[in-house]
Amino acid sequence: MIKLRPVFWLLLPAVGVIFVFGAIPLLISLVYSFLTANPYGGVAMPPTFSSYVQMLFDQDFDGSLVFMPDYIWIAVRSLYLALLTTMLSLAVGFPVAWYIVCQSPNRRKVLLTLVSLPFWINTLIRTYCWILILRDEGLINGFLKWLGIIQHPLPLLYNQGAILLGLVYTFLPFMVLPIYATLERLDPRLIEAAYDLYANRWQLFRRVIWPLTKPGIAAGTVLVFAPALGAFLQPDLLGGGKQLLIGSLIEMQFTSSRNWPFGAALSMLVTFAVLVALAWQSRRSKAGAEARA
């Protein structure tokens, strides 16, 4: 009889949650992506690779199979926006996290609450609020007109910039919080030591702070990149639905196009991209650890 260590029972709930909410839906998507589309939604037999073929070759109106690079372009555009979102979040999030860490413990609590405050309101509502701020008759254009700076409203809404703003706004806390967590545990004596050894501010940041906060930056990067890649609310509402991103494309397959297997296959593509990003990250951090050893 196998005797299980108590730690097994302690881990069981966590493993169970990961399995039920993580692994099972992913497996269902994987299986669906290899099935045939039911024209009225859902999936049917027989198994096929056609969803993956469709990413490159699609049926033209006359039924002939033609090369279609457009899905690839949509994927590349989504990747580009997700990367840009991640970099902007890092550029804004790091100084914010640094600023919070430098405050007194009481102020830190207040500031951290403020960072997570947006999550108390539904994402959809907050995205609609951006429409009210950015639109032609909205707050910003109204204010600039009132000041007399502009005569005609600036096109702030329904373009890629608006999508980017929406994505950075939504996912910024996911960057701030993990960086804050690592900065908070940073030993201030190391900073003093660096100054004692005549490091200037840049050297201090580059050689001491950055390497020590890398785990937080890595976590933040993944937590922002992954949801930004699959987002469909911001492109549809703030982008005006004029340019498809992969998230909207997936949503479309499950609603109007009624092509669930293709939607599942596209989800697999997104999952694959995130896995590649994770693998790259872990290789880099391993290589970094070895270089220092």
Partner: protein
């Protein structure tokens, strides 16, 4: 140490991640409460109050923005809704997919109140599954202050004059946009002819620089605030928009308009079929149908409801198309047409 930090950082944010509303929770079915699932801005609160007052049955309302969303939700499994509203071209699809409960509306006491032409509808000839909710036409509205010239053609929407550059709103659903474009070109709705579909894609691509956004929600607000100066629209929304901004005009084009009727139905697996049927009968009462029309600004199918309508509504131009106006109902697109429409919709926004 590093890995531990990473874990800690992830742990701190995991709680937040869980709080992010990524999916809508399904409705929990609670006894004695009727769950209605209807289009956005489309259910009179006064009507629901009256129903609760007369029957003691509480009502909750959820909304959706396209037939496709409704179909996807019902296909995905039981949603806990007792009543849904399905458009004419989707009724057959829902019935064929066994998503609707038989209600045999013709046996209900109030069925005789329906106008004879709506007692037999092509998509549900014996009223086995549905009763009419509201009906109207799909065309477009423009601001006469922006464009004072006379407009009598869908061409103004699809090949807009330069004053509308970047100012046009189109619906966010492929079937609504493409079917109206087909009608404009004189092609049948749910067309599958390759050349005609290519022409339609070219037409919509040429229109795109004039389009500000593709979205079916919030059109009234965008038209009245001047955010868009021309928009594809349903007749009743057009009436509400014109009430708020008098320079708006809804066009009965010479090419005709796409007719539609939404139909009240009970989804299979509804927790409270008996009360849902009570609501269906309640809706075929002239006074109740008028309350809904007064709110949504669409025609209902109940004879004798006119005397309960607000006078402004009874005489509204959007409500009374000219006698020779061609109204075309969609037959419901087959799988090939759906695939082609999807291709147009993707290529248009690639």
């Amino acid at each position: 140490m590093k890995a531990q930090n990473l874990l800690l950082a992830c742990g701190l944010t995991a709680g937040l991640l869980a709080a992010l509303p990524l999916a809508q929770p399904a409705q929990a079915a609670d006894a004695g409460v009727l769950h209605i699932f209807n289009w956005t801005d489309y259910t009179s609160p006064e009507l629901l109050k009256k129903f609760t007052k007369e029957t003691g049955i509480k009502v909750t309302l959820d909304t959706y923005d396209s037939n496709e969303t409704l179909l996807a939700k019902l296909k995905a499994g039981t949603t806990g809704y007792d009543l849904v509203v399905v458009s004419d071209d989707f009724v057959k699809i829902f019935v064929n997919q066994n998503l609707l409960e038989k209600v045999d509306a013709s046996q209900m006491p109030n069925f005789k109140n329906l106008e004879p032409r709506w007692q037999k509808r092509d998509w549900d000839p014996t009223a086995e599954y549905t009763v009419p909710w509201q009906w109207g036409t799909t065309s477009f509205t423009y601001d006469t202050k922006v464009y004072p010239q006379p407009v009598d053609s869908l061409g103004t929407l699809f090949k807009p004059p330069s004053v509308f550059k970047g100012q046009v709103g189109m619906f966010g659903s492929p079937s609504e946009v493409i079917n109206l474009a087909l009608l404009y070109q004189g092609y049948p709705l749910c067309d599958t002819d390759p050349d005609q579909l290519k022409a339609t894609l070219a037409l919509l691509e040429a229109q795109k620089p004039f389009v500000k956004l593709y979205n079916s929600d919030g059109i009234i607000d965008r038209l009245t605030s001047g955010e868009v100066t021309m928009s594809e629209q349903w007749s009743g929304d057009a009436e509400r928009a014109r009430m708020a901004k008098h320079s708006l005009r809804y066009v009965f084009a010479k090419e005709g308009g796409v007719g539609w009727m939404d139909n009240l139905a009970i989804p299979v697996g509804a927790p409270d079929v008996a009360n849902a049927k009570k609501f269906i009968n309640f809706m075929m009462d002239p006074e109740n149908a008028a309350i809904e029309s007064n709110f949504a600004g669409y025609q209902n199918a109940v004879a004798g409801s006119n005397k309960y309508l607000q006078p402004a509504l009874a005489s509204a131009p959007e409500f009374n198309p000219p006698a020779d106006y061609k109204i075309v109902f969609s037959p419901g697109c087959n799988a090939k047409a759906t695939k082609d429409f999807d291709r147009i919709w993707t290529l248009l926004r690639k």
